[in-house]
Symmetry: C2
Subunit: 138 residues, 2 copies
């Protein structure tokens, strides 16, 4: 019989461990390619295809958040579990998780008022963080 606790997470491999623990250390949103390069630098080389698949699996499992940069590239970040949004610095990528219960309610109400079902939403706030604001002033 299977050891019951590994919640449909598949086998434990060197590659998955490497990707997962890298995500624990990096705190900004990063592309699959970025993460792949970082792994190579650290000598924990993992095939690019595997990086993509692992990230996808983690995203499906809700363990990482995915969003898209302005040019459509997917970027990943390990976030806290519950539903939340992001305040992201355009200059350096610094990210703060934020919550807005009122926004959640508002979105749900708007959607149902218009007869939409199976509702979800995406909300990101972009700006220039304190340090970057200072840096930009010289």
């Amino acid at each position: 019989m299977t050891t019951a606790n590994s919640q449909a997470r598949g086998r434990s491999t060197r590659q998955r461990t490497a990707v997962s623990s890298l995500l624990d250390e990096v705190e900004d949103f990063r592309s699959a390619q970025d993460l792949h390069d970082l792994l190579k630098q650290r000598g924990e080389s993992v095939g690019l295809t595997t990086v993509y698949r692992t990230l996808q699996a983690l995203a499906d499992a809700g363990e990482v958040d995915v969003l898209r940069t302005q040019d459509g590239e997917a970027v990943y970040r390990r976030c806290s579990q519950g539903h939340h949004h992001h305040l992201v610095c355009r200059a350096c990528g610094r990210t703060v998780e934020v919550e807005g219960p009122a926004v959640e309610r508002w979105a749900g109400r708007i959607a149902s008022e218009h007869g939409f079902t199976d509702v979800s939403h995406e909300l990101e706030i972009f700006g220039t963080c304190g340090p970057c604001t200072l840096a930009a002033r010289g």
Copy 2:
């Protein structure tokens, strides 16, 4: 001298007119490829490259809104001028423009609380519209 009123909009060509007036008629978010196909159907054929360039110009001029589908494809729609958000059907693209003054205030407050400046935000609500919900039930 130039006729002064054409606000840096470039020349008036058959192709640009075709794309622009197509956008007036279509009310959902559509990809460049979709719009290109629609034009072909209508006998107003326009090169795909030109469709892309025209959409980009319109987007830069703030005359169309752009957002990305879940798989990263850019979709375009002629919207009203002011700041607003969208309620979009995942299945058919049907779109409703929505406003949320409270959300605007919330986003600004959150950002300044964290020392961010030059703030903007993106907010889209996704769901299945009434007709598509019915269709999905058979």
